[in-house]
């Protein structure tokens, strides 16, 4: 209830309050800004000090290496098609690692999401457990699992695949469970009323609702996983990254190989990004049409 007797006074109060609030907000904003700038500057200086080469020295050398690589590759441009063919199998391996890891990770992530969503979980008491499990899977950097597995299983694509799949399962588990929370429970209840098992309820009642979103996120993950798979190759897991490290350790004289690998990786990432981007737009627009109708 508004106190009518205080009406005249309240206008001034409101104005003063507003001015005070704006001022306070400005002060807070200013302090935050100063703090942020100071943190950035101090952080940059610390990083610069602890680095082997300093920023100012390195800056004019940034382009030296690409220039060397490119000029040598240009001199041997005739070898380029042959080099591309040589490294194509490595590219296929990198793509296979990413694709298999995305597939396995998506399946595991979908399961993790279903058992950790309220209303869908078959064992509601275990929801926190599965959530923490997904958090941990998400938090472990791929390289940690990959390096440990390389020690046990030997170098090759399998450790990288397992490592990326674990991380993917955690990351997608979280995203999928957010998608699941928006899914309607009515089909699930309907299926339950006719005696469907949990698997049937999920496959027939939930997956059709969330499928397009799942696929969209999984495609996004595939893009990320290609990059991850190239990086893991660099630490010994096979594929393009591994070839890149070898070509680089040969140094000058083999820069045309490095250039071919750079080119393959760049082209693959751009092409996959384009395709998956257009598929994802199609998927999200498709679902929007579906919900609007």
């Amino acid at each position: 209830m508004t106190d009518l007797t205080a009406g005249a006074q309240s206008v001034d109060d409101v104005r003063d309050g507003y001015v005070a609030m704006t001022r306070r907000k400005r002060v807070y904003g200013g302090i935050l800004l100063i703090l942020f700038v100071a943190l950035m500057a101090a952080g940059f200086r610390t990083a610069d000090r602890r680095n082997a080469g300093s920023f100012t020295d390195g800056l004019h050398r940034v382009l030296d290496y690409p220039a060397e690589v490119l000029s040598e590759a240009w001199d041997k441009i005739a070898d380029m098609p042959a080099n591309l063919v040589t490294y194509f199998p490595a590219l296929v391996e990198t793509l296979n690692i990413a694709a298999a890891a995305t597939l396995v990770g998506t399946l595991a992530g979908a399961f993790l999401a279903l058992v950790s969503t309220r209303g869908l979980a078959p064992w509601p008491r275990l929801i926190p457990l599965f959530r923490r499990l997904a958090d941990i899977c998400r938090a472990v950097p791929e390289i940690v699992i990959a390096l440990v597995l390389i020690f046990v299983l030997g170098g090759g694509p399998v450790p990288a695949m397992i490592a990326i799949a674990i991380h993917t399962a955690g990351a997608l588990g979280k995203l999928f469970s957010e998608v699941n929370e928006n899914a309607s429970l009515k089909p699930v209840e309907g299926l339950q009323s006719v005696g469907a098992t949990w698997t049937q309820r999920m496959v027939l009642g939930v997956i059709p609702q969330v499928g397009p979103n799942y696929v969209s996120y999984a495609l996004l993950r595939f893009e990320i996983n290609i990059r991850a798979s190239a990086i893991l190759g660099f630490v010994g897991a096979g594929g393009l990254g591994y070839e890149l490290r070898n070509a680089m350790s040969w140094g000058q004289g083999r820069y045309d190989d490095a250039a071919a690998i750079f080119l393959l990786l760049f082209a693959t990432i751009v092409i996959v990004d384009q395709i998956s981007g257009s598929v994802r737009t199609h998927l999200t627009e498709g679902t929007q049409k579906g919900t609007a109708a």
Binding site: M40, A52, E93, L103, L147, G156, V158, N182, V235, F266
Partner: protein, 455 residues
């Protein structure tokens, strides 16, 4: 097609429905089938059947047991007769001359009690090992005749390996190796020994209550110093490495955001009418994103050398492309009405941007940047392993030694905690800055909302 025309016979309708179902069934079977076919192909492409042969399960066992246990070496040099005791056999973990844990009795005959009746005696000439249920094994090493061993029975059990110059006995209680030059006993313990203090610290072996008492009496600084400079676990270096990793992520993410924001204005249709500049800016973003972080890392490491700055710059360059794309998409979706409203009050161009545009895009931008901050903490670990900086470097170094698995386990735990902490922190900051208050109950998400581009 909503009317069910009555002139069509039921049979035809049913047949049509059946056909539809059949097709759906085939499609819904074909998809898992394709996945299965692909996985089978990968199974053979990755040579999974040969994996069992290549895998080294012995390594796996060492890895797991070593990550939560440690061993103490008791070594006798057969030439001088000197006995030394060292944790993990490392100089950093060696007991001072003439000192030993209570299960080792030093003397003319050193008696090592491995518990459960297992006793090893390093005599002046002969090494004896009492094994319950088996008997006493005697071994006499000499420089001329190698190792002469006497077993209680003629048959050599599989846990004893015996050759002319070497005797090795592995039991549940420990392990004894006798060679010509030395005799060595390993005893295994659970835990991370010397985690707090090394043996040369006066605080080693004190209980927590004792330490608290000492700290209260003014030794807190010395206690912390001994812990901080622990040579075995290098807490100081580890803390710096974690800090470096977070620093890389912080500098890279926010630096990229600061660079990408003005560029994003150039790349949007509604703020930049110059078509060619727009095109250029977009191609720059595509190029930065397309040249993978790995390539940037390699190129930048050449120019700047190993260290946190290189990692920060690699993250910065890659994310500038990503942020540019996200920000320009967000800018294209701003509501023109608010800008017009600000303009109608007589605002000039900077004011128009400051009060008309920035408030609209801040929540989207900030939440994206904070998402990336968390993800980049993980990337910084990986980049650190390649360029050499931060916890990634320590981790790879520890893995390369192939024996410090307890340190590897420690680093992994720290990395997981670090990433989870950053996840929590960025989520907290996101809620504080965007909603401007304590976390509220979760709102159901707008189903029409475009999914965020997540790292």
């Amino acid at each position: 097609m909503t009317t069910f025309a009555t002139d069509r016979p039921h049979g035809a309708l049913k047949a049509g429905a059946d056909r539809l179902f059949a097709r759906k069934r085939i499609i819904s079977l074909a998809l898992p089938g394709l996945v299965l076919v692909y996985l089978t192909y990968v199974f053979f492409a990755f040579d999974m059947p040969g994996l069992a042969g290549r895998a080294n399960w012995e390594n796996g066992r060492t890895l797991i047991s070593d990550s939560f246990s440690y061993k103490t070496h008791v070594t006798r040099d057969n030439r001088t007769g000197a006995v030394s005791v060292a944790i993990e056999g490392e100089r950093k973990g060696a007991y001072p001359e003439g000192q030993a844990p209570d299960w080792v009795t030093l003397g003319d005959t050193t008696v090592i009690d491995l518990e459960g009746g297992h006793v090893v005696r390093f005599g002046p000439e002969t090494v004896e090992y009492d094994i319950p249920g088996y008997g006493t094994v005697r071994a006499t090493p000499s420089r001329s005749t190698g190792v002469q061993a006497e077993l209680p029975s003629n048959a050599v059990p599989e846990w004893i390996s015996l050759s002319r110059n070497r005797l090795a006995i592995t039991t549940d209680a420990g392990r004894l190796t006798v060679t010509r030059n030395r005799a060595e006993v390993f005893r295994y313990f659970t835990g991370w020994e010397l985690f707090w203090f090394t043996l040369d610290s006066p605080y080693h072996g004190k209980s927590f209550a004792q330490l608290a008492g000492l700290a209260a009496s003014g030794q807190a600084g010395a206690i912390f110093n001994d812990f901080w400079t622990n040579k075995m676990w290098r807490h100081q270096d580890v803390a710096w490495a974690i800090f470096e990793t977070i620093l890389m992520a912080f500098l890279g993410t926010f630096g990229a955001a600061l660079i990408a924001l003005p560029l994003a204005f150039v790349a949007t249709r509604n703020f930049n009418p110059v078509r060619s500049a727009r095109f250029m800016a977009r191609r720059v973003f595509d190029f930065l994103r397309g040249v993978d972080g790995l390539i940037w890392t390699v190129v930048l490491a050449r120019a700047f050398g190993p260290g946190p700055l290189t990692g920060a710059l690699a993250i910065l360059v890659t994310d500038t492309g990503t942020f540019g794309k996200i920000f320009s998409e967000a800018l294209e979706n701003v509501d023109q009405k608010q800008i017009e409203g600000v303009q109608s009050t007589g605002a000039n161009a900077p004011q128009k941007y400051r009060f008309g545009v920035i408030p609209q895009i801040t929540p989207v931008l900030l939440s994206q940047v904070l998402y990336f901050l968390e993800s980049n903490t993980r990337s910084a670990t990986v980049i650190g392993a390649i360029t050499g900086g931060g916890i990634g470097l320590l981790l790879t170094q520890a893995i390369i030694t192939q024996k410090d698995w307890e340190e590897v386990a420690y680093y992994i735990v720290l990395v997981i905690l670090m990433v989870m902490l950053m996840d929590w922190f960025s989520g907290w900051l996101r809620r504080r800055l965007i909603q401007g208050g304590p976390p509220k109950a979760r709102k159901p998400r707008d189903p029409q909302a475009k999914p965020l581009m997540l790292p």
